[in-house]
Protein backbone atom coordinates (compact mmCIF):
# COMPACT_ATOMS: atom_id res chain seq x y z
CA UNK A 1 0.00 0.00 0.00
CA UNK A 2 1.43 3.28 -1.06
CA UNK A 3 0.07 6.48 0.31
CA UNK A 4 0.58 9.36 -1.98
CA UNK A 5 0.48 12.80 -0.57
CA UNK A 6 -1.58 15.03 -2.70
CA UNK A 7 -0.26 18.56 -2.56
CA UNK A 8 -2.64 20.82 -0.79
CA UNK A 9 -3.26 22.99 -3.75
CA UNK A 10 -4.47 20.11 -5.91
CA UNK A 11 -8.09 19.16 -6.39
CA UNK A 12 -9.44 15.88 -7.61
CA UNK A 13 -10.54 16.06 -11.22
CA UNK A 14 -10.90 12.39 -12.04
CA UNK A 15 -11.40 9.39 -9.79
CA UNK A 16 -12.50 5.78 -10.06
CA UNK A 17 -16.29 5.69 -10.51
CA UNK A 18 -18.34 4.27 -7.68
CA UNK A 19 -20.57 2.41 -10.06
CA UNK A 20 -17.70 0.20 -11.14
CA UNK A 21 -16.52 -2.66 -8.99
CA UNK A 22 -12.82 -3.05 -8.51
CA UNK A 23 -12.72 -6.15 -10.70
CA UNK A 24 -10.03 -6.18 -13.32
CA UNK A 25 -11.71 -6.19 -16.72
CA UNK A 26 -10.97 -9.10 -19.01
CA UNK A 27 -11.01 -7.04 -22.21
CA UNK A 28 -8.04 -7.00 -24.54
CA UNK A 29 -5.55 -4.15 -24.06
CA UNK A 30 -6.99 -0.97 -25.49
CA UNK A 31 -10.47 -2.37 -26.01
CA UNK A 32 -12.94 0.49 -25.90
CA UNK A 33 -15.50 -1.65 -24.10
CA UNK A 34 -13.55 -0.53 -21.03
CA UNK A 35 -13.92 3.13 -21.91
CA UNK A 36 -17.65 2.72 -22.38
CA UNK A 37 -18.05 0.88 -19.11
CA UNK A 38 -16.31 3.72 -17.40
CA UNK A 39 -18.51 6.34 -19.01
CA UNK A 40 -21.70 4.53 -18.08
CA UNK A 41 -20.50 4.22 -14.51
CA UNK A 42 -19.57 7.90 -14.37
CA UNK A 43 -23.03 8.84 -15.56
CA UNK A 44 -24.72 6.60 -13.01
CA UNK A 45 -22.58 8.24 -10.35
CA UNK A 46 -23.37 11.72 -11.51
CA UNK A 47 -27.08 11.01 -11.62
CA UNK A 48 -26.79 9.32 -8.25
CA UNK A 49 -28.84 6.32 -9.35
CA UNK A 50 -26.41 3.47 -8.70
CA UNK A 51 -28.58 2.03 -5.96
CA UNK A 52 -31.64 1.85 -8.11
CA UNK A 53 -30.07 0.78 -11.34
CA UNK A 54 -30.36 -2.65 -12.91
CA UNK A 55 -28.30 -3.60 -15.92
CA UNK A 56 -28.58 -6.39 -18.45
CA UNK A 57 -25.41 -7.83 -19.92
CA UNK A 58 -25.44 -9.35 -23.40
CA UNK A 59 -23.71 -12.33 -24.90
CA UNK A 60 -20.61 -10.89 -26.48
CA UNK A 61 -17.26 -9.73 -25.18
CA UNK A 62 -19.10 -7.71 -22.56
CA UNK A 63 -20.89 -10.77 -21.21
CA UNK A 64 -19.12 -10.29 -17.91
CA UNK A 65 -20.19 -6.66 -17.58
CA UNK A 66 -22.07 -7.81 -14.48
CA UNK A 67 -18.78 -8.21 -12.69
CA UNK A 68 -17.68 -4.71 -13.55
CA UNK A 69 -20.75 -2.59 -12.90
CA UNK A 70 -21.44 -2.29 -9.24
CA UNK A 71 -25.17 -2.44 -9.79
CA UNK A 72 -27.63 -5.33 -9.80
CA UNK A 73 -27.30 -7.14 -13.09
CA UNK A 74 -28.55 -10.07 -15.09
CA UNK A 75 -27.03 -11.84 -18.05
CA UNK A 76 -29.36 -12.23 -21.03
CA UNK A 77 -29.57 -14.80 -23.76
CA UNK A 78 -27.88 -13.68 -26.97
CA UNK A 79 -29.84 -10.75 -28.37
CA UNK A 80 -32.65 -10.85 -25.81
CA UNK A 81 -31.47 -8.17 -23.40
CA UNK A 82 -34.21 -5.75 -24.55
CA UNK A 83 -36.90 -8.35 -23.85
CA UNK A 84 -35.44 -9.00 -20.42
CA UNK A 85 -35.19 -5.30 -19.73
CA UNK A 86 -38.81 -4.90 -20.79
CA UNK A 87 -39.98 -7.58 -18.39
CA UNK A 88 -37.84 -6.22 -15.64
CA UNK A 89 -38.75 -2.57 -16.03
CA UNK A 90 -42.46 -3.29 -16.36
CA UNK A 91 -42.52 -4.86 -12.93
CA UNK A 92 -40.04 -2.34 -11.48
CA UNK A 93 -41.05 0.96 -13.00
CA UNK A 94 -39.18 2.97 -10.40
CA UNK A 95 -35.81 1.48 -11.26
CA UNK A 96 -33.29 2.67 -13.80
CA UNK A 97 -32.72 -0.09 -16.32
CA UNK A 98 -30.15 -0.40 -19.05
CA UNK A 99 -28.98 -2.98 -21.53
CA UNK A 100 -25.43 -3.13 -22.78
CA UNK A 101 -25.17 -4.87 -26.13
CA UNK A 102 -22.78 -5.55 -28.96
CA UNK A 103 -23.59 -5.31 -32.64
CA UNK A 104 -24.04 -9.02 -33.17
CA UNK A 105 -26.22 -9.22 -30.12
CA UNK A 106 -28.37 -6.18 -30.78
CA UNK A 107 -28.39 -5.82 -34.53
CA UNK A 108 -28.36 -9.40 -35.74
CA UNK A 109 -29.98 -12.04 -33.54
CA UNK A 110 -31.67 -9.45 -31.35
CA UNK A 111 -33.01 -7.05 -33.97
CA UNK A 112 -36.64 -7.96 -33.29
CA UNK A 113 -36.37 -7.39 -29.58
CA UNK A 114 -34.65 -4.00 -29.87
CA UNK A 115 -37.09 -2.80 -32.51
CA UNK A 116 -40.08 -3.71 -30.41
CA UNK A 117 -38.64 -2.29 -27.23
CA UNK A 118 -37.98 0.97 -29.06
CA UNK A 119 -41.38 0.89 -30.66
CA UNK A 120 -43.16 0.41 -27.39
CA UNK A 121 -41.10 3.18 -25.93
CA UNK A 122 -39.91 0.94 -23.14
CA UNK A 123 -38.44 3.10 -20.42
CA UNK A 124 -34.92 1.83 -20.48
CA UNK A 125 -31.61 2.85 -21.99
CA UNK A 126 -29.58 0.79 -24.39
CA UNK A 127 -25.86 1.13 -24.78
CA UNK A 128 -25.05 -0.28 -28.18
CA UNK A 129 -21.40 -1.00 -28.82
CA UNK A 130 -20.77 -1.13 -32.54
CA UNK A 131 -17.33 -2.54 -33.26
CA UNK A 132 -18.18 -3.90 -36.69
CA UNK A 133 -17.33 -7.45 -35.68
CA UNK A 134 -18.24 -10.40 -33.50
CA UNK A 135 -15.56 -9.96 -30.90
CA UNK A 136 -16.30 -12.77 -28.53
CA UNK A 137 -16.52 -15.58 -31.02
CA UNK A 138 -13.32 -14.56 -32.69
CA UNK A 139 -13.97 -12.09 -35.42
CA UNK A 140 -16.83 -13.14 -37.68
CA UNK A 141 -18.79 -10.74 -39.81
CA UNK A 142 -21.22 -8.59 -37.84
CA UNK A 143 -24.31 -6.93 -39.28
CA UNK A 144 -22.28 -3.73 -39.01
CA UNK A 145 -19.13 -5.04 -40.70
CA UNK A 146 -18.19 -2.61 -43.44
CA UNK A 147 -18.35 -3.43 -47.14
CA UNK A 148 -15.15 -5.16 -48.13
CA UNK A 149 -14.05 -5.69 -44.54
CA UNK A 150 -12.36 -9.06 -44.06
CA UNK A 151 -13.48 -11.21 -41.18
CA UNK A 152 -13.22 -14.90 -40.46
CA UNK A 153 -16.63 -15.46 -42.05
CA UNK A 154 -16.13 -13.02 -44.90
CA UNK A 155 -12.60 -14.07 -45.75
CA UNK A 156 -12.52 -12.15 -49.02
CA UNK A 157 -14.21 -9.09 -47.55
CA UNK A 158 -17.88 -8.43 -46.95
CA UNK A 159 -19.66 -8.71 -50.25
CA UNK A 160 -22.81 -6.63 -49.96
CA UNK A 161 -24.35 -8.48 -52.88
CA UNK A 162 -24.59 -11.69 -50.91
CA UNK A 163 -24.17 -10.61 -47.30
CA UNK A 164 -26.21 -7.44 -47.39
CA UNK A 165 -25.38 -3.95 -46.25
CA UNK A 166 -24.07 -2.86 -42.87
CA UNK A 167 -27.00 -2.12 -40.62
CA UNK A 168 -27.43 1.46 -39.50
CA UNK A 169 -29.24 0.84 -36.27
CA UNK A 170 -29.45 4.42 -35.05
CA UNK A 171 -31.19 5.40 -38.28
CA UNK A 172 -33.48 2.37 -38.22
CA UNK A 173 -34.74 2.86 -34.68
CA UNK A 174 -35.18 6.58 -35.25
CA UNK A 175 -38.11 5.73 -37.53
CA UNK A 176 -40.08 4.34 -34.59
CA UNK A 177 -42.37 6.69 -32.68
CA UNK A 178 -41.64 5.08 -29.31
CA UNK A 179 -38.00 6.06 -29.28
CA UNK A 180 -37.25 9.27 -27.39
CA UNK A 181 -33.56 9.70 -27.91
CA UNK A 182 -31.36 7.87 -30.36
CA UNK A 183 -27.85 8.97 -31.06
CA UNK A 184 -24.61 7.69 -32.50
CA UNK A 185 -21.35 8.58 -30.81
CA UNK A 186 -17.79 7.32 -30.93
CA UNK A 187 -15.13 6.73 -28.32
CA UNK A 188 -12.25 7.08 -30.73
CA UNK A 189 -10.65 10.16 -29.22
CA UNK A 190 -11.00 12.30 -26.15
CA UNK A 191 -13.49 14.82 -27.52
CA UNK A 192 -15.61 11.93 -28.82
CA UNK A 193 -15.42 10.24 -25.45
CA UNK A 194 -16.63 13.40 -23.76
CA UNK A 195 -19.50 13.77 -26.21
CA UNK A 196 -20.39 10.13 -25.71
CA UNK A 197 -20.61 10.69 -22.00
CA UNK A 198 -22.93 13.63 -22.50
CA UNK A 199 -25.12 11.52 -24.73
CA UNK A 200 -25.21 8.72 -22.19
CA UNK A 201 -26.22 11.13 -19.51
CA UNK A 202 -28.99 12.54 -21.62
CA UNK A 203 -30.19 9.03 -22.44
CA UNK A 204 -30.44 8.11 -18.77
CA UNK A 205 -32.07 11.42 -17.96
CA UNK A 206 -34.66 10.74 -20.63
CA UNK A 207 -35.37 7.47 -18.90
CA UNK A 208 -35.61 9.11 -15.51
CA UNK A 209 -38.08 11.59 -16.93
CA UNK A 210 -40.14 8.77 -18.43
CA UNK A 211 -39.77 10.12 -21.95
CA UNK A 212 -39.43 6.78 -23.70
CA UNK A 213 -36.77 4.48 -25.04
CA UNK A 214 -33.25 5.82 -25.42
CA UNK A 215 -30.24 4.34 -27.15
CA UNK A 216 -26.67 5.45 -27.55
CA UNK A 217 -24.89 3.67 -30.37
CA UNK A 218 -21.16 3.91 -29.81
CA UNK A 219 -18.57 3.28 -32.49
CA UNK A 220 -15.94 1.18 -30.84
CA UNK A 221 -12.85 -0.83 -31.69
CA UNK A 222 -11.75 -4.42 -31.61
CA UNK A 223 -8.05 -4.33 -32.17
CA UNK A 224 -7.75 -8.06 -31.58
CA UNK A 225 -10.07 -9.13 -34.34
CA UNK A 226 -9.22 -6.26 -36.61
CA UNK A 227 -5.63 -7.43 -36.25
CA UNK A 228 -4.09 -4.08 -35.39
CA UNK A 229 -2.80 -2.18 -32.40
CA UNK A 230 -5.17 -0.24 -30.14
CA UNK A 231 -4.09 3.17 -31.42
CA UNK A 232 -4.20 2.02 -35.01
CA UNK A 233 -7.68 0.65 -34.38
CA UNK A 234 -8.92 4.06 -33.25
CA UNK A 235 -7.57 5.53 -36.46
CA UNK A 236 -9.05 2.78 -38.60
CA UNK A 237 -12.45 3.32 -37.06
CA UNK A 238 -12.27 7.06 -37.63
CA UNK A 239 -11.24 6.58 -41.18
CA UNK A 240 -13.60 3.77 -42.13
CA UNK A 241 -16.48 3.55 -39.68
CA UNK A 242 -17.30 7.18 -39.08
CA UNK A 243 -17.95 7.96 -42.74
CA UNK A 244 -20.35 5.04 -43.01
CA UNK A 245 -21.94 5.61 -39.62
CA UNK A 246 -22.35 9.36 -39.27
CA UNK A 247 -22.15 10.64 -35.72
CA UNK A 248 -24.93 12.60 -34.12
CA UNK A 249 -28.50 12.33 -32.95
CA UNK A 250 -30.93 10.52 -35.22
CA UNK A 251 -33.93 11.01 -32.99
CA UNK A 252 -34.67 13.62 -30.39
CA UNK A 253 -38.26 13.62 -29.21
CA UNK A 254 -39.86 16.82 -28.10
CA UNK A 255 -39.52 15.80 -24.50
CA UNK A 256 -35.82 15.15 -24.91
CA UNK A 257 -35.37 18.38 -26.80
CA UNK A 258 -36.87 20.22 -23.83
CA UNK A 259 -34.56 18.32 -21.53
CA UNK A 260 -31.55 19.33 -23.64
CA UNK A 261 -32.59 22.92 -23.60
CA UNK A 262 -33.23 22.96 -19.89
CA UNK A 263 -29.53 22.26 -19.28
Amino acid sequence: MTTIEIPADMELVYEYPKSLTEAYMHYCPGCTHGVIHRLVAEVLDELDVREKTIGIAPVGCSVLAYYYFDVDMAEAAHGRAPAMATGLKRVSPDKVVFTYQGDGDLASIGIAEIIYAANRGEMFTTIFVNNAIYGMTGGQMAPTTLPGQKTTSSPTGRDVETAGWPMKVAELLAVLPGSAYITRQAVLDVPGIRRTKKALKLAFQAQLEGLGFSMVEILSTCSTNWHMGPAEALEWAKEHMVPYYPLGDTKVSDGVRALMESK
Binding site: Y27, C28, V63, M136, T224
Partner: protein
Amino acid sequence: MQEEIIISGFGGQGTLFAGQLLAYAAMDSGHHVTWIPSYGPEMRGGKARCTVIVSDEEIGAPLVRRPSAAIVLNIPSMEAFEPTIKPGGTLVVNSSLVPQRSERDDIRVIYAPATDIAEELGNARMANVICLAALVEATGVVTLDEVKQALEDHLPARHRKLLGLNKEAMDKGAALAKAGGGG
Protein backbone atom coordinates in the same frame (compact mmCIF):
# COMPACT_ATOMS: atom_id res chain seq x y z
CA MET B 1 4.40 -47.05 -27.72
CA GLN B 2 2.20 -44.25 -26.50
CA GLU B 3 3.52 -40.83 -25.64
CA GLU B 4 1.22 -38.15 -24.17
CA ILE B 5 2.68 -34.71 -24.49
CA ILE B 6 1.41 -31.41 -23.14
CA ILE B 7 2.77 -28.16 -24.55
CA SER B 8 1.80 -25.14 -22.55
CA GLY B 9 2.54 -21.44 -22.45
CA PHE B 10 1.15 -17.98 -23.13
CA GLY B 11 -0.78 -17.19 -26.28
CA GLY B 12 1.63 -16.04 -28.94
CA GLN B 13 4.37 -18.42 -27.89
CA GLY B 14 3.49 -20.86 -30.62
CA THR B 15 2.50 -23.73 -28.37
CA LEU B 16 -0.37 -24.82 -30.60
CA PHE B 17 1.83 -24.74 -33.67
CA ALA B 18 4.58 -26.73 -32.00
CA GLY B 19 2.02 -29.35 -31.11
CA GLN B 20 0.73 -29.46 -34.64
CA LEU B 21 4.23 -29.87 -35.97
CA LEU B 22 4.71 -32.84 -33.72
CA ALA B 23 1.36 -34.21 -34.81
CA TYR B 24 2.27 -33.89 -38.49
CA ALA B 25 5.61 -35.55 -37.91
CA ALA B 26 3.92 -38.38 -36.06
CA MET B 27 1.26 -38.81 -38.71
CA ASP B 28 3.71 -38.72 -41.58
CA SER B 29 5.84 -41.32 -39.89
CA GLY B 30 2.88 -43.64 -39.63
CA HIS B 31 1.74 -43.22 -36.06
CA HIS B 32 -1.68 -42.68 -34.66
CA VAL B 33 -1.88 -39.17 -33.34
CA THR B 34 -4.31 -36.71 -31.79
CA TRP B 35 -3.80 -33.03 -31.16
CA ILE B 36 -6.23 -31.19 -28.96
CA PRO B 37 -6.06 -27.63 -27.72
CA SER B 38 -7.58 -26.45 -24.51
CA TYR B 39 -9.83 -23.79 -25.85
CA GLY B 40 -10.80 -21.05 -23.60
CA PRO B 41 -13.78 -19.19 -22.40
CA GLU B 42 -15.43 -17.32 -25.22
CA MET B 43 -13.14 -14.39 -24.71
CA ARG B 44 -9.69 -13.00 -24.88
CA GLY B 45 -7.23 -14.80 -22.73
CA GLY B 46 -3.61 -15.46 -22.23
CA LYS B 47 -3.27 -19.21 -21.91
CA ALA B 48 -2.53 -21.59 -24.75
CA ARG B 49 -2.10 -25.30 -24.35
CA CYS B 50 -2.39 -28.45 -26.36
CA THR B 51 -2.13 -32.14 -25.79
CA VAL B 52 -0.57 -34.40 -28.40
CA ILE B 53 -0.84 -38.14 -28.15
CA VAL B 54 1.33 -40.31 -30.36
CA SER B 55 0.69 -44.01 -30.33
CA ASP B 56 1.13 -47.24 -32.20
CA GLU B 57 -2.46 -48.16 -31.48
CA GLU B 58 -5.77 -46.45 -32.04
CA ILE B 59 -6.00 -43.63 -29.54
CA GLY B 60 -8.82 -43.63 -27.02
CA ALA B 61 -8.79 -40.71 -24.62
CA PRO B 62 -7.29 -37.69 -26.40
CA LEU B 63 -6.67 -35.98 -23.09
CA VAL B 64 -4.66 -37.09 -20.11
CA ARG B 65 -4.31 -35.93 -16.60
CA ARG B 66 -0.80 -37.34 -16.28
CA PRO B 67 1.24 -36.75 -19.43
CA SER B 68 4.36 -38.73 -20.23
CA ALA B 69 6.07 -35.56 -21.40
CA ALA B 70 5.59 -31.82 -21.33
CA ILE B 71 7.01 -28.59 -22.62
CA VAL B 72 6.42 -25.60 -20.38
CA LEU B 73 7.05 -22.18 -21.80
CA ASN B 74 6.11 -20.00 -18.84
CA ILE B 75 5.83 -20.03 -15.06
CA PRO B 76 2.15 -20.88 -14.69
CA SER B 77 2.61 -23.84 -17.01
CA MET B 78 5.55 -25.05 -15.01
CA GLU B 79 3.49 -24.86 -11.86
CA ALA B 80 0.58 -26.62 -13.44
CA PHE B 81 2.28 -29.51 -15.20
CA GLU B 82 5.58 -30.27 -13.57
CA PRO B 83 3.88 -32.21 -10.78
CA THR B 84 1.66 -34.20 -13.14
CA ILE B 85 4.26 -35.87 -15.35
CA LYS B 86 4.34 -39.63 -15.11
CA PRO B 87 7.38 -41.13 -13.43
CA GLY B 88 9.96 -41.80 -16.08
CA GLY B 89 8.61 -39.00 -18.18
CA THR B 90 10.24 -35.97 -19.71
CA LEU B 91 9.89 -32.27 -19.00
CA VAL B 92 11.29 -29.55 -21.21
CA VAL B 93 11.47 -26.19 -19.48
CA ASN B 94 12.01 -22.90 -21.28
CA SER B 95 14.48 -21.76 -18.70
CA SER B 96 14.72 -18.31 -20.26
CA LEU B 97 11.30 -17.55 -18.85
CA VAL B 98 10.93 -20.10 -16.08
CA PRO B 99 13.43 -19.54 -13.31
CA GLN B 100 12.47 -22.39 -11.02
CA ARG B 101 13.81 -25.92 -11.04
CA SER B 102 11.90 -29.16 -10.80
CA GLU B 103 12.17 -31.03 -7.52
CA ARG B 104 11.17 -34.33 -9.12
CA ASP B 105 13.82 -36.98 -9.34
CA ASP B 106 11.66 -39.51 -11.16
CA ILE B 107 11.51 -37.64 -14.42
CA ARG B 108 14.02 -36.32 -16.89
CA VAL B 109 14.11 -32.53 -16.99
CA ILE B 110 15.72 -30.52 -19.75
CA TYR B 111 16.25 -26.85 -19.05
CA ALA B 112 16.42 -25.12 -22.38
CA PRO B 113 17.11 -21.37 -22.43
CA ALA B 114 15.03 -21.41 -25.55
CA THR B 115 14.01 -17.78 -25.73
CA ASP B 116 17.59 -16.69 -25.31
CA ILE B 117 18.83 -19.05 -27.97
CA ALA B 118 16.02 -17.98 -30.27
CA GLU B 119 16.80 -14.35 -29.75
CA GLU B 120 20.41 -15.03 -30.48
CA LEU B 121 19.34 -16.62 -33.72
CA GLY B 122 17.35 -13.50 -34.44
CA ASN B 123 13.75 -14.41 -33.59
CA ALA B 124 12.48 -14.98 -30.08
CA ARG B 125 9.37 -16.73 -31.40
CA MET B 126 11.37 -19.82 -32.28
CA ALA B 127 11.58 -20.83 -28.62
CA ASN B 128 8.76 -23.26 -29.30
CA VAL B 129 10.59 -25.31 -31.94
CA ILE B 130 13.72 -25.33 -29.86
CA CYS B 131 11.83 -26.90 -27.00
CA LEU B 132 10.06 -29.26 -29.34
CA ALA B 133 13.32 -30.45 -30.79
CA ALA B 134 14.64 -31.05 -27.30
CA LEU B 135 11.57 -33.05 -26.41
CA VAL B 136 11.70 -35.10 -29.57
CA GLU B 137 15.35 -35.81 -29.07
CA ALA B 138 14.82 -36.79 -25.47
CA THR B 139 11.79 -39.01 -25.95
CA GLY B 140 12.33 -40.35 -29.42
CA VAL B 141 8.62 -40.11 -30.05
CA VAL B 142 9.52 -39.15 -33.61
CA THR B 143 12.88 -38.29 -35.12
CA LEU B 144 14.20 -34.80 -35.47
CA ASP B 145 14.28 -35.27 -39.22
CA GLU B 146 10.63 -36.12 -39.22
CA VAL B 147 9.86 -32.90 -37.41
CA LYS B 148 12.01 -30.96 -39.85
CA GLN B 149 10.20 -32.59 -42.71
CA ALA B 150 6.87 -31.66 -41.14
CA LEU B 151 8.10 -28.11 -40.79
CA GLU B 152 9.02 -28.03 -44.42
CA ASP B 153 5.64 -29.38 -45.43
CA HIS B 154 3.50 -27.29 -43.14
CA LEU B 155 5.20 -24.00 -42.39
CA PRO B 156 2.80 -21.34 -43.65
CA ALA B 157 4.01 -19.74 -46.87
CA ARG B 158 4.49 -16.34 -45.27
CA HIS B 159 7.08 -17.84 -42.91
CA ARG B 160 8.88 -19.86 -45.59
CA LYS B 161 11.88 -17.63 -45.43
CA LEU B 162 12.41 -18.64 -41.81
CA LEU B 163 12.65 -22.34 -42.65
CA GLY B 164 16.41 -22.51 -42.49
CA LEU B 165 16.56 -20.55 -39.28
CA ASN B 166 13.96 -22.78 -37.70
CA LYS B 167 15.91 -25.88 -38.60
CA GLU B 168 19.00 -24.35 -37.11
CA ALA B 169 17.01 -23.60 -33.96
CA MET B 170 15.86 -27.20 -33.83
CA ASP B 171 19.38 -28.44 -34.04
CA LYS B 172 20.26 -26.31 -31.06
CA GLY B 173 17.30 -27.66 -29.15
CA ALA B 174 18.14 -31.23 -29.98
CA ALA B 175 21.73 -30.65 -29.00
CA LEU B 176 20.61 -29.41 -25.62
CA ALA B 177 18.68 -32.59 -25.01
CA LYS B 178 21.61 -34.70 -26.07
CA ALA B 179 23.81 -32.74 -23.74
CA GLY B 180 21.42 -33.52 -20.91
CA GLY B 181 19.67 -30.19 -20.87
CA GLY B 182 21.87 -27.60 -19.27
CA GLY B 183 20.63 -23.99 -19.19
